[in-house]
Symmetry: C2
Subunit: 140 residues, 2 copies
């Protein structure tokens, strides 16, 4: 049983076969998939699964705070099942590959009070960008 399914059950969620397949697809990888990629992979296990269910389910899991929605390229959203551990992201500007990384300090402390413009700042995310090893080789 997937750990994400356990967490979802706590929200009084009805655990349908569709939701289970989607949650397990999310958790089964350390890559952050787009909705279409999740649809494709989940459909290989449950061919009748619809696009709308995948989008609905992902949005609901985001609203419950159990997964994170990430947008790096403005094209499509990606979903990160690792919502309960503080981490940041490293994105390849060549191929879009993304990895989780852990920085050693909290960026909120780097924002002085007079730069907060009265906002109640709740969280901060760092996006590191560069070229992955493969794209460095391709560019050389």
């Amino acid at each position: 049983m997937s750990d994400l399914v356990t967490r979802l059950r706590r929200h009084n969620w009805r655990i349908t076969p569709q939701r289970r397949v989607i949650a397990e697809t999310l958790e089964g990888s350390h890559v952050h998939f787009t909705a279409e990629e999740i649809l494709e992979r989940a459909c290989s296990r449950m061919p009748e699964l619809s696009r709308a269910t995948v989008y609905n389910t992902l949005n609901e899991m985001v609203a419950l705070g159990e997964i994170l929605e990430l947008t790096f390229d403005g094209r499509s959203k990606r979903y990160d099942p690792n919502a309960d551990h503080e981490h940041h992201h490293l994105v390849c500007e060549g191929c879009g590959l993304m990895k989780d990384v852990h920085a050693v300090a909290d960026p909120i402390e780097w924002l002085p009070g007079d730069e907060r413009h009265g906002f109640a700042v709740a969280r901060a995310a760092i996006t590191y960008r560069g070229l992955c090893p493969d794209c460095q080789d391709a560019a050389a």
Copy 2:
């Protein structure tokens, strides 16, 4: 004459009336507009301006490094003419309002070598999220 136009001229860019209007629209505000908002505002000064020209021009200015493309909500890209000053962004989770902010540390220095996964890390951006003063009032 807009400073952005001056910078664009240095790239041997032909400064057409369309490009000038788009550049001045970008620079004339400290808000970061979407492409559609830029189109709407620029069209009020040059009604025959086409959507394709706005999108083409924005993409070219991004490629030249003279403006920044930002994606914080996964819906539409926003454009930031302030590409030549290091800064980060503060986004309201209520209304989407965005402001430029300046942090007191460089995030790249806080990413240990063994967290870089072989990437050539070129830049880092911090997105601070929270509620703006108006949205705090509305929630209270």
